[in-house]
């Protein structure tokens, strides 16, 4: 654990009203810069998150929780292809690696936009799940901010799950 977190209060951090817009801004910036991909919000999407690739990055400190990005394997491969200019995107391991890094950068970019988190929250290395027959079951009461964004016409779910 970094020395920068040793004096962090463990008072729960609840999501603030501005966080949804900041999360969207963080995601749009990361996908634009690293993948040249323009994400568009999908409004009033009632679908549950779906897709057989889920990237996760844990967050600990002033905010405990997890950032996730869920999409289809096809979308993950397209993103990897954009990030690498087409190089090696057919490799499923590469596509998972790319999605994990995007999730990591969205989490980092989001926390840098929230002043109370920047120096008081650490990120884990990314993990990527392949497959969709699973349920995420946090052991503590939690709140979640979920955005549905369109990438090349396909939905992509970005969630910030917060343990409060």
């Amino acid at each position: 654990m970094s020395s920068s977190l040793r004096h962090v209060s463990h008072a729960p951090t609840r999501p603030e009203s501005t966080w949804r817009a900041l999360l969207e801004s963080a995601a749009v910036e990361v996908f634009e810069i690293m993948a040249g991909a323009r994400l568009e919000p999908i409004v009033d999407c009632q679908d549950e998150p779906q897709g057989d690739r889920t990237a996760m990055v844990g967050m600990a400190g002033a905010l405990c929780g997890m950032m996730t990005i869920r999409c289809s394997g096809e979308s993950a491969a397209k993103l990897a292809s954009r990030m690498l200019d087409g190089d090696a995107a057919e490799n499923p391991t590469t596509a998972c690696d790319a999605l994990g890094e995007l999730c990591n950068m969205v989490a980092g970019n989001f926390k840098s936009k929230v002043s109370i988190l920047a120096d008081r929250c650490m990120l884990s290395v990314p993990t990527v799940i392949r497959g969709e027959d699973y349920v995420m079951q946090p052991v503590n009461f939690n709140e979640a901010l979920t955005l549905v964004l369109s990438f090349e016409g396909a939905p992509l779910w970005i969630s910030l799950v917060i343990h409060v």
Binding site: S2, S3, D87, E101
Partner: protein
């Protein structure tokens, strides 16, 4: 203009490729690009190669970028080799920690090739 021998340290293969591509897009001439997926692997690379520049992630398994920087101080072949941290960490404290143990600069992910060029050029001066 000297061609550079560079070590890129990141646990993500994708990020290592992107960093290398950014260096080339920035107009830097590369004689050789070595790769390592964590700090421990990077230390072995440093000992066996005559490097001009190291770019390292901070958050990595086994040995992270801060531990790597601390260990690098005791490696004879690493003396004077500039290290630039490339990290998702927006934390000023983590950046200050990296600079205090020997990093010469940092680049925050997401980054553009121009940002890489700016940081690296300012460190290498005439070599870039």
């Amino acid at each position: 203009m000297k061609k550079l021998r560079v070590l890129i340290v990141d646990d993500s293969t994708v990020m290592r490729k992107i960093v290398e591509r950014s260096l080339r897009q920035a107009g830097l001439e590369l004689a050789e690009v070595r790769e390592a997926s964590n700090g421990a692997e990077a230390l072995a690379e440093v000992q066996n190669n005559n490097l001009d520049l190291i770019l390292s992630d901070i958050n990595m398994p086994s040995m992270d970028g801060i531990e790597f920087l601390r260990a690098l101080g005791g490696v004879e072949g690493a003396k004077g080799v500039p290290v630039v941290m490339i990290t998702t960490e927006g934390s000023e404290a983590r950046v200050v920690e990296a600079l205090s143990v020997g990093a010469k600069g940092y680049i925050r992910k997401p980054f553009t090739p121009d940002q890489v060029k700016e940081r690296v050029s300012s460190l290498l001066g005439g070599n870039s």
